[in-house]
Point group: C2
Chain length 458, copies 2
């Protein structure tokens, strides 16, 4: 089981928004004075909507990927920018996209990669905000989805003097050790597949799938069947290949749920409307023979892997687009973003796997020569307590497996909690669409009202 989920969706460029690409020199290490090294951090800016010197700044706190992808695919920020006459900024997160402190050496070892932390990224953003808002007259509102949403909320938490408010969409700020149960992601994910059609066959079939796949991968006849059926780009040829296939499928299931949008879209993969329902529709029968189960599953899987019908073979090396910094996020998850994941095979549809921090840590050391700091993010950001926060909206869709780590209730009236029953992963940040649900429309309207309130009180 792959322990790390990359949980930010990358939207394909359907709109072409206009911006200038700039850089700002930021310190490699904001919190020591051992040296004074800087590197250029990339950001995108559009000030064409600006009305006057008090116009707000909408600041997207970039996450684990190329910032241009986020700019192209976070239509809601562009819409708000135009409506409020704001400066729009998309700031790239260090170590992603083109913001590599050591060029192509950035990922070579911990001496180079060790500066990839959320605290340093927030300090980069703080410096950029100070630079863009030098006389501090403009109210700054942060935006972000997923890890970017966590960063937005944390900007408001740690730099409330720089940021008047934040919209943290699908931000699992509570997805840390002992704050939420480790099986919550897989439980919700299973729930999404369970309610996709008016039957439970789909989930039952997925549960049945694992021992069958494991068995088939363990012998020549089985592997031959699988290779013929699934048409792997690189045919499987040993028992251990099950592990690779399983990791890939876990990601696919997660991505299907995260991207479970009400209209056809092109994300990590081109997908139909409600792709989970489409998937389940293909394996919703009872199958007496294992071969039949596998055949049905192969058809279902193609909802994700081959919706265009043009894919020639199945590549199980990664379920993610190359523009996403999956290696960077792996490192972050192995250092401070330790998000325990487990499954029990009963209340979820996966193979039972306990969360074992020691094993996880050993694995991280093998991969990156670093030791994870299990509770670092909790101490830094206080995953369990939001009573002093203000002007932060946490939004979560209940079709999003990451919602389990989100903020779903608040006794603090200054923290807005928006739950969108029929929304998947940071759907609300997308551009308006004719098939948007009522709930999404309402949420976006609410956000803009709140932004106006924040700006007025600034």
């Amino acid at each position: 089981m792959k322990l790390i989920f990359i949980f930010t969706l990358v939207f394909a460029a359907v709109n072409c928004y206009k911006y200038t690409v700039k850089t700002i020199d930021v310190l490699l290490d904001h919190f020591t004075f051992t040296d004074n090294v800087t590197f250029p951090l990339r950001y995108l800016i559009n000030d064409s909507f600006v009305k006057d010197h008090r116009s707000p700044i909408l600041f997207y706190t970039g996450n684990e990927g190329d910032i241009e992808l986020f700019a192209e695919n976070t239509g809601f920020v562009w819409k708000v920018g135009e409506e409020l006459g704001a400066i729009i900024v998309f700031a790239e997160h260090r170590y992603y996209g083109k913001s590599l402190p050591f060029g192509n050496q950035s990922y070579s070892d911990p001496r180079h990669l060790g500066y990839l932390t959320s605290e340093q990224a927030l300090a980069d953003f703080a410096d950029l905000i100070e630079f863009l808002n030098i006389d501090r007259v403009r109210p700054v509102i942060c935006f972000g989805g997923s890890y970017g949403g966590m960063l937005s909320a944390w900007m408001r938490l740690k730099y409330p003097h720089l940021v008047v408010g934040a919209l943290a969409s699908s931000a699992p700020v509570r997805q840390f050790t002992d704050v939420v149960p480790c099986d919550i992601f897989n439980r919700i994910l299973t729930g999404v597949f369970g309610v996709a059609l008016n039957t439970t066959h789909c989930v039952d079939n997925i549960k049945k799938l694992w021992p069958v796949l494991q068995n088939f991968t363990s012998n020549d006849a089985g592997r031959k069947f699988l290779n013929t059926e699934f048409k792997f780009c690189k045919p499987i040829n040993k028992t251990e290949d099950f592990e690779t296939f399983y990791d890939f499928l876990q990601d696919v299931f997660g991505n299907l749920a995260m991207a479970n949008y009400p209209y056809e879209a092109n994300f990590l993969a081109p997908l139909p409307a409600y792709p989970v329902r489409e998937f389940c529709g293909q394996m919703n029968n009872k199958y007496d023979k294992n071969e039949d189960l596998l055949t049905a599953f192969n058809v279902a899987l193609q909802v994700y892997t081959n919706y265009t019908g043009k894919v020639k073979c199945l590549d199980i090396s990664s379920a993610y687009d190359t523009s996403m910094g999956s290696q960077g996020w792996d490192f972050q998850a192995c250092t401070e973003m330790v998000m325990p994941m487990c499954a029990n095979g009963t209340t979820d549809m996966f193979m039972p796997k306990k969360w074992d921090f020691k094993e996880f840590a050993a694995d991280c050391y093998k991969k990156f020569q670093v030791f994870p700091r299990e509770k670092c993010a909790i101490a830094q950001y206080g995953a369990w307590k939001f009573d002093t926060m203000s002007n932060v909206i946490f939004s979560n869709g209940l079709l999003d497996p990451w919602s389990g780590g989100g903020v779903l209730r608040s006794s603090n009236p200054a923290v807005g909690v928006i739950i969108i029953p029929d929304s998947a992963h940071h759907f609300d940040l997308r551009a308006d669409h004719k098939d948007d649900t009522k709930n999404i429309k309402w949420a976006r309207k609410y956000y803009i009202e709140k932004f106006k309130e924040w700006i007025e009180t600034y």
Copy 2:
């Protein structure tokens, strides 16, 4: 002119409070993963007053000196600890006292000393609080005076999930570039000397002193007079010695004002009640001859340098006790705690000296091979804006030259501003005394009421 003031007073151990000395291993660098080095941070703890598992923790955020000095001399925390049945903790600041990450190599160069920053110190404190309050049931209140007070306020700002409130006494959180005028310290200092007696002769005489001293230091006859009069431990013998003497005297004037308490006390030096008044009482006449001015000044100076009458010679190498980490603070002032200081000789009693950041930076590089980051603390802590803070009390005495950089007004009801007209530098943190003024008594009572409120709402 010495540009850096060490502004925390160290009280001599008049009380003997009981505590256990412990250490906790903290990360040398909390914000990167380039390596995993730790060092033992010292803290003092007394849990003998504890009532139950919900009893609060009173947490002194140590500043630039040996923590035992602060524990011995911050009587108010001990009093509150007893009254509230609290655990009392005094945490040492890294690089001071015995909390030296690299032992006696800690100050050798920026590669070793560069980890001496306030952000790292706050993260040390956060880890210690997490360790002491593992089930997070105990409300934690931070205390600190001067730089320690800044750290207390910043703990609440940056780690509100760990700390329910903070008393920041005489904390110049606004003493940064372009937030307050650079002459404000010297202006207030001059005011304190101006109102010490019902006459302005004292200040006028101090103003006249500088050219006279400068002139006397520049020739043999003058130096002979000065050496005979002041009895320097190391006789002055060249024009440049004026600079050393001037730096020393600036510190003495600052310290006299900071320690301008209503009763005899033994701080950086043994001092009478209201030492500024005592000082001015000795040079309050009009002196026609320069020699008479110098003679009167020598007598006045001994209020600070020789109140016991037992000091044999005048040591002008430092006005500070060796227990204070003056080298460490010099480094902090040369890195992120850049506090511009200037004088004009008109509205203050010093020699005119502009604030010149470039010159300051060059000087810092010469001393420590570091470049100061002029606005780093402002970006990190927002020296101009406190509207999102809550449960913080900023207290300032108007007899304290550092009050100019303190928070003296607030439109935010959750930030308490206590101004004590007749108080000097973090006087309110001291133990009760029979000569305490009404204002001080009232302030301490107010603090305890507030603490109780914070604890109740936790």
